[in-house]
Each structure stands twice: as C-alpha cells, then as structure tokens.
Amino acid sequence: MERERVEQTQPQDLVERAKLGDRDAFGELVAQHQHEVFTLAVRLMRDRDLAADVSQDAFIRAWRAMPKFRGDARFSTWMHRITVNTAWTHRSKQRRVRLDPLESLTAEPQASTLDPVRAGEAASASPRIEEALMQLTSSVRAVVVLKDVYGWSHSEIADHLDISVTAAKVRLHRGRKELRFLLDGYQDGAR
C-alpha cells in the first residue's frame, strides 16, 4: 500500500520540480516516458528514425512548455498530445518537402509506398494487429490508433489532427473496415 502510494506521488513530484526548471527531474520523466512516447510516434509515423526525431522534439517542446503544464491531465496524457501535435507538424513538413509541383503529379497514395521490410521494422516485436495497422494510410491510421488504442474521443482527435469530427468518424469507419479485412488476409496467410 505504502509502496503504491510512493509510486503514485513520485511522478507528480518530478513534474513539480521539472516545472521549476529542474533538468534532472525532467530527465527522469523522459526516461520514464520515452518508450510510450516513442511507441505512439512509431504508430503515427510508421518509421523508427522519424519516430525518434518526433519523440525528441516532443520532449523538447514539453520541456519548454513545462511551466504551463497545469496538471489537469496526467503527464503521460499531456505527452501523448504533444507527441501527436509534433508528429503532425513533422508530417506536414515532410509533405511540403516531398510534394514539390513536379513530384506531386507523380506522387502515389501512402499505403502503396510502404516498404514491407520497413513496416516489419516499425512493427517489430508486435502482434499481427500492429503490422496490419502499418498498412493503413497515415491519416486513417492516426484516427484508429488514437481512438481504439489510446481511447481518445472523436472531438479530441478532430482537434489535434485539425480535422472535423465528421471526418474523424469517417476515417475511423474506413480504418476499422480496412483493418478487419487486412486481419483476414493475415489469417489466410497463416493457414
């Protein structure tokens, strides 16, 4: 009981110290949350290198914003939001760089550009559902991941991905349907 109480209060103490500019406390928070932040980034970016960049940026953003963290939500929840925003900024930058006028004419849908080897890397040590998720386009995958894995509401998803609630619902419907059929394919392959 006592141990449980200590484990619960310790992160809060770290957060309070980090808010006052204590780097060691923030370093401890990074160490504690790095895997979950990286995991979310991998699921959004589908690439471990990009996910590492996103995770790093997300923690740096969090450090800068620490004094503004009011503690209404848990630190991990707050980090998830920052990670999603950072991932989406990276994604927009990538699209701007990639899609110059000439390239945009020949650009293919994202799902078809997925290299199976990289998808396998991204889904390393993960069940088949994670591999199937990696086959979805990034905009659809993000909605499915945030709703069905992390339990976000439609309005939270819409806010963070800068889309309407209706668009979030449509993408979720499409994503779940695609995922269901992809899983069928995995089952057939396993037979």
Binding site: G21, G27, F38, V42, I60, R64, A125, I129, L179
Partner: protein, 113 residues
C-alpha cells in the same frame, strides 16, 4: 449476402465496442455469418486495446539526445516578464516629481528671499 447482413457489416465498424441493438441484433442472433463477423470485430477491438500495453523500445540514445538539446526553460513562464513601458513610466514619474520639487523649492527660496 442478404440485405440485412450487409447492413450489419456496414454498422460494425461504426458501433465499435457497443453492441448492435434493435432489429439488427435479432438478426445477428439467428445468422451464423453475422455472429462470426461480430466476433471477429470484437477480437479486433480487444487486440487494438491490448496494444496500449505493447511498447516499442525507444533508441538508447533518445534520453541523452533530448537532454543535450534542452535549452533554458522559458523564463517568462516562470517569472512574468515586466512590460518594458513600466520602467519608462516610472522614470517619467520620478523625473516629473523631481522637477516639481525643484520648482517648488525655487519658489520657496524666492519667496523667503
């Protein structure tokens, strides 16, 4: 595929974990194909939920990279930065007061003389 079966198939990705209700539920109870489909969706949602516990290992260098890239915490957020007009206004008040005092002192001395 029967019309009602296709309705169930359309509804399933929308309802998520919520059970299908009403006439569709009655149909599902009596249709093996739809029952199977409901079960497959349920399994999919369980697998997705379970992913929350399945973590990818972050690169070992991540924490060090973050710590070396940290700049100073935003000072303005810790100590609200003073509006630059405040010291100027304060200086103007002091200067006006000093000038007023000097004028009054001069008047006083002139009158005393």
């Amino acid at each position: 595929m029967k019309v009602v079966c296709s309705t169930v198939h359309v509804a399933l990705p929308t309802v998520g974990e919520t059970a299908i209700t009403g006439p569709l539920a009655v149909h599902v109870e009596s249709c093996m194909a739809c029952k199977g489909e409901v079960l497959r969706y349920r399994m999919m949602y369980r697998e997705l939920e379970a992913l929350d516990d399945n973590k990818h290992k972050a690169p070992q260098s991540l924490t060090a990279a973050v710590m070396s890239a940290l700049g100073p915490v935003e000072v303005e957020a810790l100590e609200p930065r003073m509006d630059p007009r405040v010291p100027m206004a304060a200086a103007a008040v002091v200067a006006t007061a000093a000038a007023g005092t000097a004028v009054l002192y001069k008047l006083y001395r002139d009158r005393a003389a």
